[in-house]
């Protein structure tokens, strides 16, 4: 089972104290969420201790200007964001972020609105740009309100060329459940989910496998704690815990629990009555060039014979 610690409902001072305590023991952020009023932010976090401990730098409370300045400074030092959280209104947001050494620095934006896919000022437009650059949504923040939503996001190279979908941006709890049902019915899984202060959900679904997983949303803090207790007792750990709301007690949570962080790798299996290594190699080459293709079938005819 993963070696992790997690907390929620913590003030800035409490959060920083916990981060310092566990960070000194080699734990690093796996998930981070900021919620509540921007004048008195509340934190939910998961830190994990992995065999290889990397350097992380985190800033738990930044204005938009401070966030941009921090990003610029860290990027100049070769550090890019791996986690980005936000709370507050469209005009007065609060950001929290975690950086790691990265090359290249991830494509990162904040203050995005919802709108046309051709507009790079929208989350849809940036998702489209990212996809065209071979990137995949890695982490995102949803803030503002349902009537005036804003988004911040990090896109990273889609090294596994996995299909991904971020069409769910401000789903109410019921719509998100319907989206979840549709996506998971077609063998996808939620890889990330967050929410804004109006309990509207932003989701990322992917077409890969990570082993057993459990997703929960629209939870009170007590609901989340109960789910946390249930699933951690079964060797799951929270890979994504996000919260939003005006206070620690009124907040709503979404969480994803897994038993492993490792993505199950693809394998090429060729089956059929006749083995032809040259054709198998060509089909493999074709499928690797078009990695969205999970399976293919081929039949060849010569004259009246199936060969």
């Amino acid at each position: 089972m993963a070696d992790f610690v997690a907390w929620h409902g913590k003030t800035l001072d409490q959060h920083e104290a916990l981060r310092n305590e566990w960070g000194a023991q080699g734990y690093r952020f796996l998930s981070l969420s900021v919620y509540g009023p921007v004048t008195a932010p509340i934190y939910a976090a998961v830190m994990i201790r992995r065999p290889i401990v990397v350097v992380q730098r985190d800033w738990p409370s930044m204005t938009a200007a401070q966030w941009q300045q921090t990003f610029n400074e860290q990027a100049a030092q070769g550090f890019g964001p791996v986690i980005l959280a936000a709370a507050g209104s469209a005009s007065d947001p609060l950001f929290a972020a975690v950086f790691q050494a990265q090359d290249p620095i991830p494509l990162t934006r904040h203050g995005l609105t919802s709108g046309n896919v051709t507009d790079s000022g929208t989350i849809q437009g940036m998702n489209n740009n990212a996809k065209s650059q071979g990137l995949k949504l890695h982490w995102a923040a949803s803030y503002g309100s349902a009537a005036d939503p804003r988004f911040a996001a990090i896109w990273m190279p889609n090294t596994r060329t996995v299909l991904w979908n971020n069409d769910g941006l401000v789903d109410d709890a019921g719509t998100y459940q319907a989206r979840f049902n549709a996506e998971t019915s077609a063998w996808c899984r939620p890889a990330f989910v967050t929410l804004d202060g109006d309990n509207c959900y932003m989701s990322l679904f992917v077409a890969d496998e990570i082993g057993p997983w459990v997703a929960r949303h629209n939870m009170t803090p007590d609901d989340y704690q109960a789910e946390f207790n249930t699933w951690t007792a079964k060797s799951y750990f929270p890979i994504c815990v996000q919260a939003a709301g005006s206070s620690a007690t009124s907040a709503r949570f979404a969480a994803l629990f897994v038993q492993s962080e490792d993505i199950v790798g693809k394998q090429f299996n060729a089956i059929g009555p006749v083995a032809n290594s040259a054709i198998d190699a060509l089909v493999l080459q074709t499928m690797q060039a078009q990695p969205v293709v999970r399976h293919a079938s081929l039949a060849i005819v010569n004259g009246t014979k199936l060969v």
Binding site: W187, A207, L298, G303
Partner: protein, 332 residues
Amino acid sequence: MFQLIETGELALSDTLQSILQLKTPSGAAPVDSRFSSVTIQNLLEHKSGINTDAFSNGVAVVEAFTAAGHSASLPVTQEMTDSYIASLPLVNDPGSVQTYSNCGYYLLGRVVAHLRGKNAPIDAYQAYLFDPLGITRIRSAVDLVSAQPAGEARYQAATIDSSSPSDLQVAQSLMTPDQPLVASGYGDDELAIGQGGSGLSAATTDLARLIAILVDGNDNPALKRATLVGMLSDAAALAATPGMTRAGYGLDGAENLGGGKFYGQKGGLIINAASVLQFNGDWGFALCFGSPAQLPGVTPVWYPDYVPLMSIAKSTNWGTTDLFPDFGMPSL
């Protein structure tokens, strides 16, 4: 279609309306008077002038029936869709413009079903084409995930072009009145009723059986060679006509190679799958992908000639074994 022509039960010049006698949801004659002059040949050549894709819209079909005073709800039937098509104005004069038409082939399927006395095209195909050829693994498409046959392959929606910019899309179902979100390809289209177009699901081995009868120089249990030569010659002639983008007659591309040999290909592309059938002289292949593959450097991207594959196939000594019997189909 060409079985019926072979037996004299159908002619290319027959009109669609003389066979189906379609009426609008309100029971009236088709709204466009030109509808009555659409011929079977027009449909086969994508020249009917009928709106190519508007028919595949269950919500609009239900609305049309409701507006006509009927109690209607999703999912729609083939019969409802037929009537809805009769309520649509034509886009062009029949025979004047070639525009790839899913609706045209949907209607051809309905013609076959009607003339064979079957409720659905798939029943006619099974009785008159698949059974004589020993084909058992071509069936009607099934829309909902929950209704898929055991062991069915998994399909996931992926970006094809700018008209569908999002991978793994979900959309509202057309299969139930409450229209819940479904994964695209699993109920947001109407594949099962479109059996003359995109509504069939096939094993590649059984699809290859259809290639074999197109390659075969002799009569086969389903069709006489002369009939097939006539069909392929018409397709090749149309494909060679300036301004034509499709061969028609069930094919996207066609060429008369001489000596009774033909080239032909047909691609299929939906939001979560792609397939191609091709024959070239004595060789052919069927290839199906579980997502809308776009092969690099090939145009059109989803139904390539796949020259590297055929080069390997032609240079391989396959021996004398015919694998059709291994899949339950006797040698031709």
